[in-house]
Every structure is written in structure tokens, then in C-alpha cells.
């Protein structure tokens, strides 16, 4: 019984670590590149866009999609590893 509880705790810890990693990226591309450092990045040209403007209006959204799918795959693997998948 206690090993089962330990395993559940370990599963949750790994889940939290995955979430935190992805949330850091989520924050960096939107609030970082799109808002806080937008003017600095605008000095760089990227396919005809100032880079900061591109992140704010396009790039951040693409990264959001990638993050959700990365989370889907990470969690599917984690669910298998701890044998809690459906």
C-alpha cells in the first residue's frame, strides 16, 4: 500500500517538473519575447518581420501549440512508466 502511495507521489513530482519546464518556455516566448524584450528583439529582422513583433503576433502561438503536444507526449510516456494509464 505504501509503495503504491510512494509511486503516486513520485508520479506527481515528475508531472510537476514537466509542467514547470514547459511553463518556463511558455512564459519566455510570450511575456519574455513578446512583451518584456520586444523592443530589443525588434532590432533583428526575421523573414521580413521585426523579430519581437513576430513573436508577439505569430511565434508565441506556434510555440504554445508545440508545448501542448510536447506535454501530451511527455505525459503519455509518464503514465505508462508509472502504470497509471487508462
Amino acid at each position: 500500500m505504501s509503495t503504491q502511495a510512494d509511486s503516486a507521489r513520485a508520479y506527481w513530482r515528475e508531472n510537476l517538473r514537466i509542467i514547470i519546464t514547459y511553463m518556463v518556455i511558455w512564459f519566455a516566448v510570450s511575456y519574455g519575447c513578446g512583451i518584456l524584450f520586444v523592443d530589443a528583439l525588434d532590432q533583428i529582422q526575421f523573414f521580413g518581420f521585426p523579430l519581437g513583433f513576430w513573436f508577439a503576433q505569430q511565434g508565441a502561438i506556434y510555440v504554445f501549440i508545440a508545448l501542448i503536444w510536447a506535454y501530451v507526449f511527455s505525459m503519455n510516456r509518464l503514465d505508462e512508466k508509472y502504470d497509471v494509464h487508462e
Binding site: G34, A60, V72
Partner: protein, 590 residues
């Protein structure tokens, strides 16, 4: 074939499709009515979520907002998409595992308190009604502009359609009509965008076209910047808002998105926890197709608008020579012109053309046949353009074929109806399930509950229709309120409920009350009691203040929870259970 006939065919055809689906997908039990039986495949749920989420505001208004705000429009673009990352990681899988029907269900059970449940019900209903009034209005505008019937009549037609499939089909009917509506609305948005992009830049993909170089040798964005500065606007790719305001506004929109009950409830409809995550991924892909196109439509639309109105040499075009769309939208009251320098030419530049921003039309027409107004301002700008017409007028401005224009009209209606239906369902569920069944009379049978749900849906549609016909002047203002409420009340309470085993009733209730109170007070003060922007706290606009409310909610909840007794053991078991995916299917049957 005339444009009117084409528009009737497109809108009529799409309505026939929705009704057909509604009849095919009737709901027979409360479970089918509330969560479509819990058996919706994740791709379909992703599409339905996208249609549910993309309202008249996304379809009609967003490109206009970005077009007129330039880079600052990113707060909406990132805010309304980034929320899905929060949903996928922090909310959707756990709420699916919890396996009930509504957001107040979770709040009430997790915090073992009917007070907490009631606060959640009130938030849900207020948020949803705020939203739905705008949708009905959107339907009305499209009908009146394209089918030349009164806005009132348009709203009634919209009500009848929604009534049909929301009341009959419940969540099951709504889900499959939303899938169809997504297809209609995305086609309607993308086809003109492809045309525009080809026309302006020669690139097929609008996302790439916005960065392209024009025949003049300058890129689209450089051209926009030059046009904007020439006319006295700020540079298009430069921000106008302060960094702190952008930050808080984006955060409020993101967390608000993740806390909107009609979005959350969509994740209750999939069979497994895994599917909740996957359908968030699909939903964002389907949403991003539109959202990444919006900046391009906004940019091309702005170039086209300025060049058409001011003419190629930028001296203005004679009013009598203006294309038909200009006069059509003038007739609809969304464009106005006052010939201030008396040269008979239309000149557009920065500044409010009319005192107070919007024109007030008087009876009669002027020298050139233009509609007379009572309040031309002293600014040299002669033209008022309502930013809501950007998407609808774009195909006409760019001279696209009539069938594209008809398609756009059908798409706008699909966007408005799909969101309205999702919201109405949430309202009716809150009343029949959370209030009737869980709070007032727990002894009613499944059949009775279903009848209550249908009655509540009928009443909600009638109220929404009333607001659509007699729009309260504050619809635009209260949208900030809807997101502020969701961000400062629903979102923190759910996240804490999942991620903190220590969070208890007292913490949740005090957090919600503080978050709500602060946010509502701030928004009401600045939107209704005449507060001015120089009084903004730390320079944060009312749209962004939901973030402050949310932070206060988190802090107060955690402090109060540590000072009061921990939640009982069975609540700890609930939390441990929702964190593990296995067993979601069984969890759904209670």
C-alpha cells in the same frame, strides 16, 4: 447570381445543416445533455472547442482590433491562445478525471461547501450572460447588413436556430453542430485571407505574406509603418501601451480564457484523461489557424483601407467616386464622413473625426449624398471607421467575388451561433444541475432535471435575445469584466483545488471574494464611474486588472488556508485520485 441570393443560399444552407445535425444528435439523458455522454473523440472535441471559443469577437472584431492597435493587439492574440497551455497542463486533465458535469460541481465538492458552489454558480452565470449578449448582437449585425432585414428580426432568427439545437440536443447536439460550424467559419475566414494575401503580396499563405516584400520593394510592415506615420498614427509595429499594462492585460486574458466555464466544460465530454490533453492540443491548432491569420488580415486590410479611402496619391478620393461598400457601411452606421474642408473628397488620418469618437447621425443627407452627423470634431480627420467592419468589409474592399462575401457572412453567423449555444448550455446547466439538483431539491429525477435544463435553456435564450435586440450600452465594457471575473475567481480556485492538498473551504471562499471584489470595484470605477486612465493603479488598465485580482486571490487563499484547519481526509483522497489518470471512465458514471 446576385449577392443577396448567394448570401441567402450560404446562410440558409448552413442553417439546414445545423438543424439536420441537431435532429440526428438528440439528447436522451442528463449525461448526454450536459457532457454529450462523455464519448466525444478528441479531434471532434478540439474542433467543437475551437468553434465554442471563437465567437463573433474573434471572427468579426479581432482583426479590426489588431488593425487599429498595431503591435499592442498581441495582448489579445497571445492572451486568447496562451490560455490553452494553462488549460492543458493545469486544469483539463484533472477536471476530466474528477468527472462531473460543471465547474461549480468541482468547486462545491472539492471545497465541501455549498457557499463556494453558489459563488461559482453566480460567476458562471454572470460571465456567460455577458458573453452571450454580444453574440446575439453579432448575428443581428450580419443579418441586417447582408440580408437587409432588421437587426431585431435577425436576432429572432438566430434565437430560433439556437433554440432548436441547444434545447433539443443539449451538449450532444451542440458538439456536433459546433464541428460543422467550425468548418464553415474557418473556411469563411481563410478563403478571403488567401485571396487578399495573393492579391497584395503574391504569397498564398497569409502568415508568410505579412512579412513579404511588395512591388515597391518595401515590405508590407514597412509600408504600413510609413502610411501610418504619414497620416499621424503611431508606427504599426511599435507598441503604444506600457509594458506593465501589456503584461497584466495578456495575463488576465490568458488566465481568464483558462477559467471560462463554457470552455472548461468541453473537456468533460471526452472519454479519457489522455483525451482531455489531446483535445486541448487539437483545439489550439484549430484556433491558431485563425489567430495566426488575423495579423495578416489586419495588416492587408489596413493598407487596402487607407489606399482606397485616401487614393493612391494620398490626397483623398471624391465621395461620389467611393466604392459601394463605403456607402453600404455608412448606411449601416459603421462608417461616417464629414466634409470638413469642403472639397468633396474623403480624407482619412489620425484623430477622432467625431466628438466623443462615434458619429451621431441626424436626419437627411449632405451636398454629396452623405449621411449628416451632429458632432464633427475639430480634427482634420474626416472619416470614422468602426473597427468591427474590418473582416466583414475586407472582401468588398479588395473586390473579391460575391460568393466570398456570402461565405464570410455565413462564417460570422456560425462563429456567433456556436459560441452562443455553448454559453446557453452552461447557463442552463448551472441552473438545472447546480442550483435545482444540488442546492434546492436533490430529490428530482434525471427526467425532471432534464426538463428543468431545457426550460432554463429556453429562458436563457429569451433573455439573451432581449439583450441582443436592446443592447445595453455597456456590452463592450463588460467583456473586460467577463475575463476579469474568470481570471480572479474561477481560475485560482480550481488550480489551488488541484495543486494544493492544504487548500480548504475558508481559503477558497475568502480568496474568491477578495479577488472578485477588488476586480469588480476597479472595473466598475473606471468603466462606469468615470475614472480616468491617469488614475490607473501602477498604470494597469481595467482590462488587465483581473491579473491583480487573481494574484490577491492566490495570496489570500493560501494565507487563510494556513490559519484554518486542513480539509478532511476524504477531500485529500479526492485530490489524490484526480491526480492519477487511471479510472476516469468509471469516475464518470456517478
Amino acid at each position: 447570381m446576385s449577392l443577396d441570393l448567394l448570401t441567402y443560399m450560404f446562410i440558409g444552407g448552413s442553417f439546414a445543416l445545423y438543424i439536420g445535425i441537431a435532429i440526428w444528435a438528440r439528447a436522451g439523458s442528463t449525461k448526454e445533455f450536459y457532457v454529450a455522454g462523455g464519448g466525444v473523440p478528441p479531434v471532434a472535441n478540439g474542433m467543437a472547442t475551437a468553434a465554442d471559443w471563437m465567437s463573433a469577437a474573434s471572427f468579426i472584431s479581432l482583426a479590426g482590433i489588431v488593425s487599429f492597435m498595431g503591435r499592442d493587439g498581441a495582448a489579445y492574440l497571445m492572451g486568447w491562445t496562451g490560455g490553452y497551455v494553462l488549460l492543458a497542463m493545469l486544469l483539463a486533465p484533472y477536471l476530466r478525471k474528477f468527472g462531473k458535469f460543471t465547474v461549480p460541481d468541482f468547486v462545491g465538492d472539492r471545497y465541501y461547501s455549498s457557499t463556494a458552489r453558489t459563488i461559482a454558480v453566480i460567476c458562471t452565470i454572470v460571465i456567460s450572460f455577458t458573453y452571450v449578449a454580444g453574440q446575439m448582437r453579432g448575428v443581428g449585425i450580419v443579418f441586417s447588413r447582408y440580408l437587409h432585414i432588421d437587426i431585431e428580426m435577425g436576432v429572432v432568427v438566430g434565437m430560433v436556430i439556437v433554440f432548436f439545437y441547444a434545447v433539443l440536443g443539449g451538449m450532444k447536439g451542440i458538439t456536433y453542430t459546433q464541428v460543422a460550424q467550425y468548418c464553415v467559419l474557418i473556411m469563411a475566414f481563410m478563403v478571403p485571407a488567401f485571396f487578399l494575401s495573393m492579391q497584395v503580396t503574391g504569397h498564398f499563405l497569409p502568415q508568410a505574406g505579412l512579412g513579404a516584400t511588395l512591388e515597391s520593394g518595401k515590405s508590407v510592415l514597412v509600408t504600413l509603418n510609413e502610411l501610418s506615420t504619414e497620416l499621424g498614427f503611431d508606427q504599426y509595429t511599435q507598441g503604444n501601451k506600457t509594458t506593465i499594462d501589456m503584461f497584466f492585460m495578456t495575463a488576465a486574458l490568458m488566465c481568464g480564457t483558462a477559467g471560462l466555464p463554457h470552455v472548461i466544460v468541453r473537456f468533460f465530454t471526452v472519454p479519457r484523461v489522455k483525451d482531455a490533453r489531446i483535445s486541448a492540443g487539437w483545439a489550439l491548432i484549430f484556433i491558431a489557424i485563425l489567430y495566426t491569420t488575423v495579423p495578416a488580415v489586419a495588416g492587408f486590410g489596413r493598407v487596402n483601407l487607407i489606399e482606397t479611402v485616401n487614393g493612391p496619391d494620398n490626397t483623398g478620393v471624391e465621395y461620389t467616386q467611393m466604392p459601394a461598400w463605403f456607402k453600404n457601411w455608412e448606411a449601416a452606421g459603421l462608417i461616417a464622413w464629414a466634409d470638413k474642408n469642403g472639397d468633396g473628397r474623403v480624407q482619412y488620418q489620425a484623430g477622432d473625426a467625431f466628438d466623443g469618437g462615434k458619429p451621431m447621425f441626424s436626419e437627411g443627407t449632405g451636398e454629396y449624398g452623405e449621411r449628416m452627423t451632429e458632432n464633427p470634431s475639430r480634427s482634420d480627420n474626416e472619416v470614422y471607421v468602426d473597427r468591427d467592419i474590418m473582416v466583414l468589409a475586407n472582401p468588398e474592399i479588395a473586390n473579391l467575388p460575391d460568393w466570398v462575401i456570402a461565405l464570410v457572412a455565413a462564417g460570422a453567423v456560425a462563429a456567433a451561433l456556436s459560441t452562443a449555444a455553448g454559453l446557453l448550455l452552461v447557463i442552463s446547466t448551472s441552473i438545472s444541475h447546480d442550483l435545482m439538483k444540488k442546492t434546492i431539491n436533490p430529490n428530482i429525477t434525471d427526467k425532471q432535471e432534464l426538463t428543468y435544463a431545457r426550460l432554463a435553456a429556453i429562458v436563457a435564450i429569451i433573455i439573451a435575445g432581449y439583450f441582443g435586440i436592446n443592447p445595453p450600452g455597456f456590452v463592450a465594457q463588460v467583456v473586460a469584466l467577463a475575463f476579469g471575473l474568470a481570471a480572479s475567481s474561477v481560475f485560482p480556485v480550481i488550480v489551488l483545488g488541484i495543486f494544493s492538498t492544504r487548500m480548504n473551504t475558508q481559503g477558497a471562499i475568502s480568496g474568491m471574494l477578495v479577488g472578485l471584489g477588488v476586480t469588480i470595484a476597479y472595473i466598475v470605477y473606471f468603466k462606469f464611474l468615470g475614472g480616468t486612465p491617469d488614475q490607473w493603479l501602477f498604470g494597469i488598465s481595467p482590462e488587465g486588472f483581473g491579473t491583480v485580482g487573481m494574484l490577491l486571490n492566490f495570496i489570500v487563499a493560501m494565507v487563510v488556508a494556513t490559519l484554518t484547519p486542513a480539509p478532511p481526509q476524504e477531500i485529500r483522497h479526492i485530490i489524490e485520485d484526480i491526480r492519477i489518470p487511471r479510472g476516469a471512465a468509471e469516475a464518470h458514471v456517478h
